[in-house]
């Protein structure tokens, strides 16, 4: 566990780290841990707990690290109920915090199922401090965290993660914009003492909802994630209204802004692992599963450091993942997960499926094991500077910034997991990854090639301005964002799997092709991309080998707003009752669909709802590829097929499939001139 968190040391700082362990069996006694500034506070707490009717059964001597102003003190307490402990701890914490002026101490762990170990320092320091490496601590579930604080000074251990309340402990990567609303929610329900960070309120929210309100963990996941209303309005009415009611009832408990939260909760029967992700998936998250365990991590290399052959997948944006010790995986956070990301039995070979590409010259080998990214990149740089044309790196494990600014004629073969920012500024190099890549592949790449035999994560090909990126597997959010073309330089991206939300956002040129090869032999009813495809698109063409709902393309107004407007058109006499009912019954109310069913002048009027000065009108058709399309699609597609060994039969099948083709309706030049004249 310590190894897994330490392998992303660069994500954190020495300003706080921690662990939490859960035991389903729990104990009758409450394990209460507090930071204290000295013996006086220790006595004060002893008296305070007794005054609240809590009996201290035993206690350990406080642990003080070097130069630390707070010691960590552990006691075992007997109490009549979870609620009585919560109330006592809350009251005492408020007194200890002294309104933040002179902090004397703080309870940070007080459950029967959970124990938190945290302090200032890197994870390894904290593990040493509490002797976690000397004596194994058993648990059904572990959480670990390293961080760079931005919401608190971080100098005191009370601000470290995990944050815990009752039998809940959470770690959080993010900075929630809903913090003020969440705080009000908790305060109005009697939770008084908080250290004042956004992360802590999440622990209290989960504890409040699960323990006080008795809400199921599934519903806690829904309340916290606050699904888009547009997704609810596509569900069965009853299910949708139940969810709406649930969220409305606990309004103020929804999280907003960026967050990936991993929460553990132990109830009377089992331990739960709950992970929630914001709607825009602003923070990294990756899920793993092997025969015995489930994993949630920021980076793949962390999971691989514990379980090299785990099946891994990324959840869809705005979803939650839930697993428990008894029920296993309850919610995986993604539909059709097994189709695109493989199931437990078949996943492992995916990485080794393809052997090293044959080469004419002898490549230089570099072993990345034991090197940090800076050392590795220096070695690669040196190899190329000394005249190597081809460098092969083995044991790549999340190393960042590999293959920057490679020149024409160079080749870099990577074996393992390429870390963030692979192949940025590529000037013509050929980068091949035998394995998965992470976020931000090919940012500002000008020419050359990046080939990924596994999956890539979010923001693939940002501001790509030339060359090709081929991904055999899936991609995450915002693939090909801001891709653009420049004179003769027309970039192309081919993705073999599926993509998530905001595919082709702000795209201004080039070709993006999404194949969904896993569905090629199936009659797949879903769509290969998430929501908000091509929002803000200015140019280029997107080809998706599945039908895409037209209200998943661009931004469309909420369904309820469209229906209101249609009713007013009926009131004005611009549409008759049959027309209104026909439109009401339509599942997809994008402007393209409405155009076919709404006569003028109503159509012109309702367009105002869809109009934005800053979005070009988009054209989307679901159809076979024309010759014009093939001229664009075929060269990169052939390259894709030959690179990944896709046979001719499949290639033909792809070529003959129906695609959703999305492009910008080109403005007429005289329109541009007209706009300019008008504005002048």
């Amino acid at each position: 566990m310590v190894r897994a968190i330490e392998c992303i040391r660069y994500r954190g700082s020495n300003l706080g780290a921690g662990f939490a362990t859960f035991n389903t069996r729990g104990s009758d006694l409450y394990t209460v841990k507090a930071f204290i500034d000295g013996d006086q506070t220790r006595e004060y707490i002893t008296r305070g707990l007794e005054m609240h009717g809590l009996a201290i059964q035993s206690e350990e001597e406080p642990i003080w690290g070097d130069r630390m102003t707070f010691g960590s003190w552990k006691l075992y307490v007997k109490a009549s109920s979870d609620a009585s402990v919560s109330i006592a701890i809350n009251n005492l914490n408020e007194e200890l915090m002294n309104g933040g002026k002179m902090i004397r101490g703080r309870f940070y762990s007080f459950g029967r199922k959970v124990e938190v170990y945290k302090n200032v320092g890197y994870p390894l320091d904290v593990a040493h401090l509490y002797g976690l490496l000397d004596e194994p601590v058993n648990g059904d579930m572990w959480i670990a965290h390293t961080r760079q604080p931005t919401n608190s000074p971080g100098l005191l251990p009370i601000w470290s993660h995990p944050f815990s309340s009752g039998n809940v402990a959470i770690v959080h990567n993010g900075d929630i914009s809903s913090f003020g609303a969440n705080l009000k929610f908790l305060q109005s329900r009697g939770v008084g003492s908080l250290v004042g960070t956004d992360s802590e309120v999440i622990a209290y929210l989960v504890d409040y909802l699960a323990r006080v309100e008795g809400i199921s963990m599934e519903d806690v996941g829904t309340i916290l994630t606050n699904p888009y209303d547009r997704l609810l309005s596509r569900m069965a009415t009853e299910k949708a209204s139940n969810i709406r009611r649930l969220i409305h009832r606990f309004r103020g408990a929804q999280l907003d802004g960026p967050f990936t939260v991993v929460a553990g909760y132990g109830d009377d029967d089992e331990s739960y692992l709950l992970a929630v992700i914001d709607r825009s998936k602003f923070r990294p998250i990756i899920i793993g599963e092997d025969r015995d365990r489930y994993f949630v991590a920021s980076e793949e290399c962390q999971i691989r450091s514990i379980s090299p052959h785990a099946t891994i997948w990324t959840p869809a944006p705005g979803r939650y993942i839930l697993a428990s010790t008894k029920r296993g995986l309850i919610e995986g956070g993604r539909e059709d997960r097994e189709m695109f990301y493989g199931s437990l039995q078949t996943s492992a070979p995916k990485l080794q499926k393809l052997s090293v590409t044959k080469t004419t010259t002898t490549p230089q080998f570099v072993d990345a094991a034991g090197l940090n990214y800076h050392e590795l990149n220096s070695k690669i740089k040196t190899e190329f500077a000394e005249g190597s044309k081809e460098v092969s790196v083995i044991n790549v494990s999340g190393h960042r910034y590999i293959g920057f600014n490679l020149k024409v004629g160079t080749k870099l073969a990577l074996h393992g997991i390429a870390g963030n920012c692979l192949g940025n500024f590529n000037q013509g190099g050929n980068i091949v990854v035998q394995g998965n890549a992470s976020d931000d592949v090919g940012d500002v790449m000008h020419s050359g090639r990046i080939v990924i035999h596994g999956d890539a994560r979010d923001v693939l090909g940002q501001a790509l301005q030339g060359g090709r990126i081929l991904v055999r597997g899936n991609v995450g959010n915002r693939a090909v964002i801001q891709m653009r073309e420049y004179r003769d330089s027309k970039p192309a991206v081919v993705i073999g799997g599926r993509g998530d939300d905001y595919f082709g956002e702000y795209m201004a040129g080039g070709v993006a092709i999404l194949l969904g090869l896993d569905t090629i032999d199936a009659d797949y009813p879903g769509q290969l991309v998430g929501e908000f495809v091509a929002t803000g698109m200015l140019g280029g063409t997107i080809y998706i080998r599945s039908k895409v709902r037209s209200d998943s393309i661009g931004l469309s107004p909420p369904r309820a707003d469209i229906l209101s407007y249609l009713e007013s058109l009926y009131y004005d006499g611009d549409i008759d009752i049959d027309g209104l009912n026909k439109l009401r019954a339509m599942d997809d109310l994008s402007i393209n669909k409405i155009e076919a069913s709404l006569p003028e002048p109503g159509l012109s009027k309702i367009r105002a709802l869809y109009r934005s000065k800053y979005s070009a009108p988009l054209k989307s058709e679901y159809r076979r590829l024309s010759q014009v399309d093939l001229d664009l699609v075929d060269p990169p597609l052939r390259e894709f097929c030959s690179e990944f060994g896709i046979d001719d039969e499949k290639y033909t099948k792809i070529r003959e499939s129906n695609f959703t083709v999305i492009s910008v309706i080109p403005p007429k030049t005289h329109d541009i001139r007209k706009v300019q004249e008008i504005e002048e």
């Binding site: 931005t150 609303a181 309004r251 907003d256 960026p258 825009s280 908000f532």
Partner: protein, 742 residues
């Protein structure tokens, strides 16, 4: 008035007197010896005068000013930022430039990044924290399209966040990536917002060489007015704590702190340096030096001073290169000279000795909280202080110039009554002139600013990303498409009421009216006066209001409406007494409270205070174990509510939705005198546009704060607003934090 204008240097050098001044003016040798040089980026960049020429892009400026700034920087030994527009060849010939790495990635590659003395990662800017760069369509001409590699004639709007930087560790990753690739120092530019000191500490810790902090009121080539006027802290409130936190954490030595935003004189820069900045950044000041007339229309591309014209092959008139280099150089030299005199008066020999000397400055009539934020003492001689309560409450009582031309024009542009972009957020350029820093505040809301998300909390771009504005009232029985509605218009004509009703109906809103004769088919969009509603018309509205007044028995009304199952809102005045009346409201049958700012009252108070206090009270009173507030909606309404900024702030203070009335009328150009001639259909169209425009502006504010679900995450979320130099008594009643504090 800025806080900085109420900060002065305290005790000047005792050896310094008027006579001494006169003597040295004629023989300025001592002044000439003063060293104004400052080192940046851990000593890697030396500049002769502590000035950084702001990051104005090629495209926003018309080319020659870009080149002139770069050449003047070379000549005078300062530094100029080149902005996001891609590097102009002529500019790149100058040495003393920084290259910007921004979310739009315009025209950058490794070779370009290596051309300057350093790289600036632009996360945000003072004029619009949380909003990306914007070059309007008509300025995206062929040369710009080639430089930026984007289609011609389309607005170039950079993504609001960098989509590879969603957190401080992502930023660290990008800092190291750029350093590894170029070897250049890296600065990070952010808008001044809440928690800036912690962000600055994170930026320093992540290996950056400096931070450029851009405050409220900073200039821009194009930005939505609502964002410019309502978001971000003034730089003077931000600098001091950043400096102090960096020092406390041992991160200040060598790390550069550059302060920007409304810096207009050597005096400003000296005060900002005393507050803790190494260098100030100036942008607008340099344009004024080159002849800018402050027309605030840079985005239209026909600048009368030829500074921000659109770039075309054969422009009709051009700026003189030679002159503009000369003017800018003179500006910098003159600035340096003035700074020397200030330093001399303080008895300092070097500019670096002024940095962080808060002991040398003091406030004049600052409220104690503001002085604490600045880390300085204050001498208060006049009472009440600016921003204190009696003055605020007076405004609520009535002020003839409440509606100024700027707010009227803003509303009319949204509706299309004037301007050419109906239904869109209004775009303006240059720095904000909004209250409280420039214009006179009209009410408490003008002393509040909203948060702009950056670095750790990516903003959301409402032009291209989903932000939900729908609002549910009465336990989900009423849905509003946006968190606003049309409030009561006393004495409205039939025609006007019909326009408001019909648009409320089509746009998914409601109209709170006392005219019970509106068409019943539009009832879904009506809230009617309960007392006048007859039982025959019971199916008409979506809800009713009942006036809550002291001594008035409304129990009978309540029983009646409970029987017909309509949601009931209690209408109360915005007054001190009304808050106390809430003690006895009955639990059953009431859906919410509507605070009506227009009801006359002896003890009338600003609606911001009413909403904040009622929200707070209802949150802490329980009905059946649940807070009252989760069972009661809270609506604010009044003819003084001016637009999206007010709406947003009232929601953050605790309202679910906000009623507008006078602003709607102003927007569509309706007046009682013109009533007969006013075209019904034109009114409909304009009012619909107003709704769309306001909705977009609310989304812009929400997105800039990183809020994607307005009703869920913004209501009562006081964390997203801060007060600017507001009287502590009022601030506490609002339950918001003081801007610039930790």
């Amino acid at each position: 008035m800025r806080v900085l204008d109420r900060v002065v240097f305290g005790d000047v050098d005792p050896a310094w007197s008027n006579r001494e001044f006169m003597r040295q003016r004629d023989n300025p040798s001592q002044v000439n010896e003063i060293d104004t040089a400052v080192k940046l980026a851990y000593g890697r960049i030396k500049i002769d005068t502590p000035i950084y020429l702001g990051d104005m892009s090629f495209g926003a400026l018309s080319g020659i000013p870009n080149i002139a700034l770069a050449r003047a920087a070379d000549r005078t030994g300062v530094l100029t930022g080149t902005g996001e527009g891609g590097l102009n060849v002529e500019v790149s010939k100058s040495k003393r430039i920084t290259i910007q790495w921004a979310s739009g990635r315009f025209g950058v590659d490794i070779d370009v990044l290596k051309l300057g003395l350093g790289i600036v990662i632009k996360i945000g800017q003072g004029a619009k924290p949380g909003i990306g760069g914007h070059l309007p369509a008509l300025k995206v001409t062929e040369p710009i399209s080639l430089a930026r590699r984007i289609p011609e004639g389309r607005d170039a709007i950079s993504p609001a966040p960098h989509h590879d930087i969603y957190s401080i560790e992502d930023l660290g990753q990008r800092i190291w990536a750029l350093k590894e690739a170029t070897g250049k120092p890296v600065f990070v530019k952010v808008g001044a917002t809440n928690y800036l000191p912690y962000i600055a500490s994170g930026i320093a810790r992540m290996g950056a060489d400096g931070i450029i902090m851009d405050g409220h009121g900073a200039g821009t080539g194009a930005a939505p007015a609502v964002v410019k006027d309502n978001i971000g802290l003034p730089i003077d409130l931000a600098v001091s704590w950043v400096d102090r936190i960096l020092r406390e954490q041992g991160l200040r030595d060598g790390f550069s702190v550059i302060a920007a935003g409304m810096v207009s004189s050597a005096e400003d820069s000296a005060k900002l340096m005393a507050l803790g900045a190494d260098v100030v950044s100036i942008g607008t000041a340099t344009l004024i030096g080159m002849g800018c007339l402050m027309v605030h229309k840079c985005h239209l591309g026909f600048c009368p001073a030829v500074l921000t014209n659109k770039i075309i092959a054969n422009p009709a008139k051009v700026l003189s290169m030679e002159k503009s280099v000369e003017w800018t150089s003179n500006l910098i030299w003159g600035w340096q000279e003035e700074l020397k005199w200030i330093l001399r008066a303080l008895g300092l020999r070097r500019a670096v000795d002024l940095i962080g000397r808060r002991d040398l400055i003091k406030g004049i009539n600052l409220n104690p909280e503001t002085a604490e934020v600045l880390g300085i003492n204050t001498e208060n001689t006049i009472f009440p202080l600016i921003g204190s309560s009696p003055e605020l409450i007076e405004y609520a009582e009535g002020d003839r110039d409440y509606w100024d031309d700027a707010s009227k024009e803003h509303l009319q542009q949204l509706s299309g009554t004037t301007g050419r972009s109906p239904g869109e957020a209004m775009i303006t350029s240059m720095g904000s002139i909004a209250p409280p820093l420039v214009d006179k505040p009209r009410g408490i809301l003008d002393w509040l600013i909203c948060d702009g998300a950056q670095v750790t909390r990516p903003s959301i771009d409402p032009y291209r990303e989903e932000i939900e504005t729908a609002c549910y009232l009465a336990d989900g029985r009423i849905r509003l498409s946006s968190p606003f509605f049309f409030g009561r218009v006393p004495g409205a004509s039939k025609k006007l009421s019909e326009i408001l009703t019909r648009v409320a109906f089509s746009m998914g809103l409601i109209f709170d009216t006392d005219d019970n004769a509106m068409p019943s088919a539009l009832g879904r969009a009506l809230i009617l006066e309960g007392a006048e509603l007859s039982s025959e018309s019971k199916s008409l509205p979506c809800a009713v209001t009942v006036r809550l007044q002291e001594g008035l028995d409304f129990a009978q009304d309540l029983r009646r409406f409970r029987e017909i199952h309509l949601p009931i809102f209690l209408r109360v005045p915005s007054s001190e007494e009304a808050i106390s009346w809430l003690d006895n409201i009955p639990q059953t049958g009431i859906s919410g409270i509507l605070v009506d700012w227009d009801i006359p009252s002896e003890s009338r108070i600003d609606i911001g205070i009413s909403i904040a206090e009622i929200d707070k009270i209802l949150r802490h009173r329980m009905w059946d174990g649940e807070p009252q507030r989760s069972q009661l909606d809270l609506l604010a309404s009044g003819s003084r509510i001016r637009g999206a900024g007010d709406i947003f702030k009232l929601i953050a203070l605790g309202a679910d939705a906000v009623g507008i009335s006078e602003s709607a009328l102003i927007s569509i150009g309706y007046t009682a005198e013109k009533m007969d001639r006013f075209d019904f259909d034109v009114g409909l169209e304009r009012l619909e546009n107003l709704v769309l425009g306001l909705q977009k502006e609310v989304k812009l504010l929400a997105g800039a704060a990183g809020v994607s679900s307005v009703h869920k995450s913004l209501t009562g979320n006081r964390e997203l607003i801060r007060s600017i130099d507001l009287d502590p008594i009022v601030r506490r009643r609002l339950d918001v934090k003081a801007g610039g504090g930790l």
